[in-house]
Amino acid sequence: MPQMSIVEALNQAIAEEMARDERVFCLGEDVSDANGGYGGAFAVTRGLHGKFGPERVLNTPISEMLIVGMAVGAAMAGMRPIADVQYGDFLFCCMDQLVNQAAKMRYMSGGRVSVPMVMRAPVGATGRGAQHAQSLEGFFTHAPGLKVICPATAYDAKGLLKTAIRDDNPVLVFEHKLLYGGKRTESGALSMVGEVPAEDYTVPFGRGVVRREGKDITIVANLLMMYRAMDAAAELDEDDISCEVIDPRTLAPFDYELVIESLRKTRRLMIVHEDTYSNGWGAQLASYIAEHEIYLLDAPIKRLAAYDVPIPCAPVMEKFVIPSTARIIDAARSLMKM
């Protein structure tokens, strides 16, 4: 099977879907690589201009409201746009289009109008300060009408993005800057390459995946935190603490069943995300388990998340704010003592 980075997997998914379906097109700032342009801030749309031309790889002015509003409108009128912002934080510039318009259109029309659009946004802290760092999944899992996905492997990136493009609803795709792989160097980046089948495939929404089996603690973690949980699990093995790591892959819809099934075995739950602590998807998962399956648990639920602060720039503070492998290990040890 071909090996590739997440950037390459996303690029392939878009290229294949654009070839398969004429309604699919990309728009965003610097998405084209014509005349020395970037081909996307993280090079995800590189090469697409050459294959599909400027109309289907539309470079826009720096106008997020235009980008997203156009995507909503084009989707309502028969197209399948893939919109792009350079950093997830900029989604706040177009919240109205996402939350008031895209999310509510289907409902307000009594089911008569749908908005089959994809909104791609990179998340994660990379030493650039508070306005280029936020993990903002929680804002969007809170908005009925939006689907939210967060692929952490090349296989999932391609398969989930294809599902997103074919879905008849607005889908937000959160991609982690430190997982993209490829040529871009970045301190703390994991150069993720993974196997991606050559043939067409999709990954369904609402299905998490067990990344590692274990019997003592279930750790649910997404994006970069999933890898930290895996590293922690490997170390905890030496302490005879066996962790099962679940990657939810999609946050809305969420695969509660997979977590519950795992808890029947482990009876202990830890949730880790890079989004802030309060009111995010981790809080939702914890409350869901407490509400429906509290008797499965032998210990309180442990949650690790970024502290409730904007992301600071200085490396020592940034590192402190975001859950580290060491913090996951400590938390697991204390959870086993409860």
């Binding site: 020395g36 002015p61 510039c93 300060g129 280029h132 600071p312 720039c313 200085a314 590192k319």
Partner: protein, 343 residues
């Protein structure tokens, strides 16, 4: 298209009268201020290449005449709102170079205590608002600051910098319209360096200049050679005076060019060679220095002495920053809300 722009600017400029040099103290002060920006940015680039500072950088060298020409005559109580490319503006507004260097190293004594970083530099005590990394978002904020200046019955003004790219954000339209509507004391300064990231300005708008957008708001708009320090200073002086006397905002479009790429590792592959060489030959510091010497305001030796002393200042700042304390990791938890009894 790109080449015509260059040519068009040059013919515009030659048609205009040359603005006379100011008296010697101001002339040398402005020269020093431009050199400070240049040497700071060159040092930052070097530190970045060496891996001694991390994150990303958006550098302002090449655009020094814009920052210095506009800000040289402002007061510390005037506000200045900058962008993701703030170092030149901050230095020209009087932010301590040492405190900025410390911020670049993520130190506790940085101008934002290490929390802001390269894109949020500022020091409100000299009127430099923490810079804004959301393109265009500083524009409505600047308008609010100007409203405050008006309501408090001061004659302070606000200088709001942004790039060509930012003029396509909603905040540009909403902000300038509001400032015009209420005759607020703002000088909107668009540094048109031809590109927003990798995209040429002419690929983002149908009109030929940004200055002409001012007409839509009923305010004056002017296109000026942003590498000609005195031309910038002359236009800024008029715009600032108009704002101070309650005459309302002005939109200045300063044609300029960045020396470095858009951000850290950008090689500017989208810039044609002839455009690059034409503009880099019009280095604003060299142009001004040429006039200072030619018109016998200063000798080469005097100007070299200024350069050397600024270089020492920059080197000293690097040493100072490297030997300064990192913040405590837990400091990350402070400053989220006002009213926590913090310093």
């Amino acid at each position: 298209m790109k080449n015509t722009d260059t040519i068009q600017l040059e013919s515009d400029v030659s048609a205009k009268t040359v603005v006379a040099l100011p008296e010697r103290t101001k002339a040398l002060g402005m020269y020093e201020s431009m050199v400070r920006i240049r040497k700071y940015e060159e040092q930052i680039y070097f530190l970045f290449l060496e891996g001694r500072i991390s994150g990303s950088i958006h550098q302002s060298h090449g655009q020094e005449a814009c920052a210095v020409g506009v800000l040289y005559d402002t007061r510390p109580t005037d506000y200045m709102a900058s962008t993701h490319r703030p170092a030149g503006h901050d230095l020209a507004k009087g932010v301590s170079l040492r405190a900025m260097m410390c911020e670049m190293f993520g130190k506790a004594n940085g101008c934002c205590h290490g929390k802001g970083g390269a894109m949020h530099m500022g020091d409100i005590s000299v009127g430099a608002v923490p810079a804004n990394a959301i393109v265009g978002s500083n524009i409505p904020i600047a308008v609010g600051m100007a409203y405050s200046c008006k309501l408090r019955r001061t004659d302070d003004i606000v200088v709001c910098f942004f790039g060509d790219g930012a003029t396509n954000e909603g905040g540009f339209h909403e902000g300038i319209n509001g400032a015009a509507l209420w005759d607020l004391p703002v000088v909107f300064v668009c540094e048109n360096n031809f590109y927003g990231a990798s995209t040429h300005v002419q690929a983002t708008m149908k009109v030929q200049t940004i200055a002409e957008r001012a007409a839509a708001y009923g305010i004056p708009g002017e296109r000026i050679d942003g590498n000609d320090l005195m031309a910038v200073n002359e236009a800024a002086t008029r715009a600032i005076a108009r704002a101070r006397r309650g005459g309302g905002p002005t939109l200045l479009e300063l044609m300029t060019y960045r020396i470095a790429g858009h951000s850290r590792s950008d090689a500017s592959a989208y810039r044609p060679d002839d455009e690059e060489s034409a503009w880099l030959a019009r280095d604003p510091i060299k142009l001004f220095r040429g006039r200072l010497v030619e018109e016998k305001v200063a000798t080469d030796a005097e100007l070299d002495a200024i350069e050397n002393s600024v270089q020492e200042e920059v080197d000293g700042a690097v040493q100072f920053a490297e030997s300064s304390q990192d913040p405590e990791p837990e400091d990350a938890l402070r400053n989220v809300y006002a009213g926590e009894g913090e310093v």
